[in-house]
Subunit: 159 residues, 2 copies
């Protein structure tokens, strides 16, 4: 089980965007995070498709959040980058081999698939209860209340 690496950058980008009301270009976010600029742009495009960020073209364009950070859950961001399909995909191997069950008795997923789905649901629930605003607040608290202000300052000053 491996989670795409771009998820981390997307979460950081959302936290950063919550500190600026004006659009921020992808290149600026890449410089701040020290990531490949073109690849980060790809992740932001995925966020745009999911309706989490809005893109503005032109000279003063860039990306900005479409909703208040308190209304964006971490689960939404992860799903936007990594996809919505579940990690455990049933191949229905119980319908193959010498003891294959008839398709009529395979209407509901079997016990193994149910247990896996329940575990993923617990994971999704834990992630859905955390918002981007929560993350920004906690990161700020960890740094003694200076980190988020510094980010906002850097975004506006270094044009």
């Amino acid at each position: 089980m491996k989670l795409s690496n771009g998820v981390e950058w997307a979460l950081h980008s959302c936290v950063t965007l919550s500190q600026s009301r004006e659009p921020v270009p992808a290149a600026r976010l890449a410089e701040l995070h020290g990531t490949p600029p073109a690849y980060l742009a790809k992740q932001l495009q995925a966020l745009s498709r999911a309706g989490i960020v809005r893109s503005t073209a032109g000279q003063v364009g860039g990306y900005s959040l479409t909703r208040p950070a308190a209304e964006i859950s971490a689960l939404e961001v992860v799903r936007a980058i990594d996809g919505t399909e579940p990690a455990y995909r049933c191949t229905e191997i119980r319908q193959r081999g010498p003891l294959a069950l008839p398709a009529e008795r395979c209407e509901r997923p079997c016990a193994i698939a149910r247990a896996m789905a329940a575990a993923e649901e617990a994971w999704a629930r834990a992630l859905g209860e955390v918002t981007v605003a929560d993350l920004a607040e906690r990161i700020d608290a960890d740094s003694g209340g200076t980190a988020m202000a510094a980010v906002g300052r850097w975004l506006t000053t270094t044009r």
Copy 2:
């Protein structure tokens, strides 16, 4: 986030092995599940390395569980196949870029990594509470109490 496909085969194999006290060769399990024999063998080797199954060489050899099925959790099987490293791996990008934090302030993982770890812990807990014996019992109940007996019969008769 994608879970290795062999996890499904490994879980099925463990459930099947719980129905037979004598060792079962990998080729037999592959025939029963309709999977590539050589690749299933690879997964069983991983289970062997993790101490979940024991391998017996020779003419009547094969794989058998090392413990009662009630003492093997689904989490152990998943970890044996998919690895133990967490799905979300922190790259510590807060230590890069123009606003890099000094390493001394990065002793504990940041809020984003903590939230991700908590979600994965919820997933692991849900999976750790299910044993292979539970899975076998539920599959048997779904089929009206005939499936596990049929598997045990097939394993012994078709030699």
